[in-house]
């Protein structure tokens, strides 16, 4: 069965639009060749694809990025956090704004340096987790990323990282088309917090592969940039060892198109993965969370919590799957996706999926869409809370279940403040 022409041609167009990556060692070049072959085999995403029916991929696959101009002037998120800061401007590492690549408990290199080294730990991660995550659902933008990316970091965590590593993505060129790829390995018993923020580019393709070894901990908090017109397709591929802990939270406010995919695989027993997202959109906003969690080990817990607040025609999509393989007994899988509509013009599309081949598991999922609770609104206003404030309180309360997935209380509070400020700017009048 041949690939439809539009998908095949689309794959070639995607490959053609990016310059060849900085040459790497033989293993890295082989991995890139595999990614090219894989992209050619699966083709570019089109609206007819099962996992693209809620999100039009054309702005992502078009030859050039639509111009996006940063209009928001706001103090950068995580600005007060003591962290190791690495800055990328339109997809290019900026040493002048970045700290030295040195942190106790961590080895950090540029991706291009890691890929150019003949014998390197990244060989077991780069393109490997991405390739594993291509089955059964193809993720062409991630294959593209592996094929063409030169920029990014390779982070190996060997102990308890002295402070969070912060990746900040700035956007200056109105039509930038950035590709960034990070590989991360958290070694046995090690622990790190990764922060990400910023709009990155007019169009941003980011792929992050994270190997969390036995008894290791990985915390991730991301605030996607407030640049209103930007496009982003991001992927996170994670493999979890025995008794490891993985927690990831993403805040998205604004952006005409954001597609965040997360592929998580449990390979060791007794591990835990929580992935959460809060998004708020006003007007031309499309936000898609696509999650695939594979339980292939015993007694692991996964939790997906996604909340979207939408108004003025904003659109939210959620596609979340839990796959429990035969033998993955005592799996505890939970999934909730909820849309809060602040008017009648917005849309929330959800597709929860469970596929279970083990008989001793507890999996639950729920998906709701609704308006602000009028009874609660009346209760608050009847006590003297002004209506707009009452609505704001209820919106924040709705989102809070997702924010509570952030382990660090100070980071969680900062996210709450950002959302509060967004609501303030986007108040219904």
């Amino acid at each position: 069965m041949g690939l439809p022409e539009v998908k095949a041609d689309g794959a070639e167009a995607l490959l053609a639009r990016h310059p060849a990556p900085t040459k790497g060692a033989r293993w890295a070049e082989e991995m890139r060749e595999k990614a090219v072959a894989s992209l050619r085999a699966m083709g570019a995403p089109v609206g007819r694809d099962e996992y693209w029916k809620y999100t039009d991929p054309r702005p992502l696959t078009a030859d050039t990025a639509e111009a996006a101009v940063l209009k928001v002037d706001e103090a950068p998120v995580f600005g007060e956090v003591d962290r190791l800061k690495l800055v990328f401007v339109d997809g290019i590492f900026d040493p002048a704004q970045s700290d030295d690549l040195a942190l106790s408990g961590v080895e950090i290199e540029h991706l291009s340096d890691a890929l150019a080294t003949d014998i390197h730990w990244a060989k077991d991660v780069f393109g490997v987790l991405e390739a594993r995550g291509q089955d059964p659902v193809p993720r062409p933008m991630a294959a593209l990323n592996t094929a063409v990316a030169s920029v990014g970091v390779a982070i190996r965590v060997t102990g308890k990282a002295a402070k969070p590593i912060s990746l900040r993505y700035l956007h200056e060129n109105p039509t930038s088309d950035a590709v960034i790829h990070h590989v991360i390995k958290v070694e046995e018993g090690a622990e790190v917090t990764l922060l990400e923020n910023g709009p990155a580019a007019a169009r941003f393709n980011k792929c992050m592969e994270v190997e969390v070894a036995d008894r290791a901990t990985f915390h991730h908090v991301r605030a996607q940039g407030r640049d209103h017109e930007r496009l982003a397709a991001t992927h996170m591929f994670t493999r979890l060892g025995t008794e490891s802990v993985f927690k990831s939270f993403t805040l998205t406010v604004n952006g005409v198109l954001t597609r965040n995919e997360a592929v998580i695989e449990f390979t060791g027993d007794d591990a835990q993965a929580h992935i959460a997202g809060a998004s708020a959109g006003d007007g031309a906003f499309h936000h898609d969370d696509t999650v695939f969690i594979t339980h292939d080990a015993v007694n692991c817990e996964s939790r997906q919590v996604f909340k979207k607040v939408l108004r003025n025609g904003a659109k939210g999509a959620f596609q979340g799957k839990i796959l429990v393989k035969a033998g993955a007994q005592k799996t505890d899988g939970y999934q909730i996706s909820q849309g809060l509509m602040l008017d009648d013009d917005s849309q929330f599309l959800a597709k929860p999926e469970l596929e279970i081949y083990a008989d001793d598991v507890a999996c639950s999922h729920g998906s709701t869409v609704g308006a602000v609770d009028e009874d609660a609104l009346f209760y608050l206003t009847s006590r003297g809370v002004p209506r707009v404030d009452a609505q704001g309180m209820l919106v924040l309360a709705f989102i809070d279940e997702a924010i509570q997935e952030i382990e660090d209380a100070a980071l969680a509070d900062e996210i709450r403040e950002r959302l509060g400020a967004w609501l303030e700017r986007h108040r219904a009048v």
Binding site: F378, L380, T381, S382, R383, M393, L394, A397
Partner: protein, 252 residues
């Protein structure tokens, strides 16, 4: 006059159902009025219409608080003007902290009245003192609004809000429902502590028993959307002994 309701007619907005058919009622400052009546007589509707809940349409009549037209005001404006409704079924609001809620409410009212807002320390002191007398624990104060509260705790939380907000006119909608004797006494003590020459009360109840604890000055009987009989505290006793049937037969 603290609260003055004249010839109030109300129907449901979404259907052509008339609930209140000409209510006349005045509550003086410093007095406690009770409204009793059978199910479906319109007691709760009256409390909702006065506090500004959506879904009702006033087709005729008026309601004023110290001469100010209530019906023109938004719920939060009515609260700032001094009206308070203790809910029959206080609403659970997950994710909104009890203290945050109460402070926002109090400062919202104070701001609307042009008064200075209370800072966190002043507010905490005020709430702690009041909470203690109502046996409301710090834990309850910290939890989300009414979430996980027992029926009695919810009602005590209503009285706490009332005591902190210090309204001029308190409407209590079946505050006794779902309370055991001890909880009812606690709630009644809270209400009695607020009785004051500058404050009016309208206590809506099915039963006489709450009125044993909160002694009313005036008792009204409501039936089919109207006040059909008004008397002193003895009227409540009459209801208790004979039910509503006799009274309704008498006024029919």
């Amino acid at each position: 006059m603290m609260l003055e309701i004249k010839n109030l007619h109300v129907k449901l907005e979404e259907e052509d159902k008339v609930i209140l058919k000409g209510v006349d009622l005045s509550v003086e400052s410093g007095k406690v009025h009770a409204i009793m009546g059978p199910n479906g007589s319109g007691k709760s509707t009256l409390s909702y219409v006065l506090s500004g809940k959506d879904g009702y349409e006033v087709t005729e009549g008026s309601a004023a608080l110290e001469g100010e037209d209530l019906l023109e005001l938004e719920p939060e404006e009515r609260a700032a003007a001094g009206l308070f409704l203790a809910f029959q079924y206080p609403v659970e609001i997950p994710g909104v902290g009890n203290m945050t809620f109460l402070r926002t409410a109090l400062n919202g009212q104070r701001k609307a009245r042009g008064e200075e807002e209370l800072n966190a320390a002043q507010f905490l002191k005020l709430v702690r003192e009041t909470a203690k007398s109502l046996k409301i624990s710090d834990d309850m104060l910290k939890r989300p609004v009414n979430v996980g509260f027992s029926g009695g705790e919810k009602k005590r939380n209503e009285i706490l809000q009332m005591a902190v907000l210090q309204p001029k006119m308190c409407i209590m909608d079946e505050t006794d429902s779902g309370l055991d004797v001890d909880a009812m006494k606690l709630v009644a003590d809270g209400v009695n502590a607020l009785r004051d020459a500058g404050r009016g009360f309208l206590v809506i109840t099915h039963y006489q028993r709450l009125l044993d604890h909160i002694k009313p000055d005036v008792v009204h009987i409501m039936a089919d959307g109207r006040i059909v009989k008004t008397g002193g505290p003895e009227l409540a006793l009459e209801v208790e002994q004979n039910g509503y049937t006799d009274i309704l037969a008498e006024v029919a």
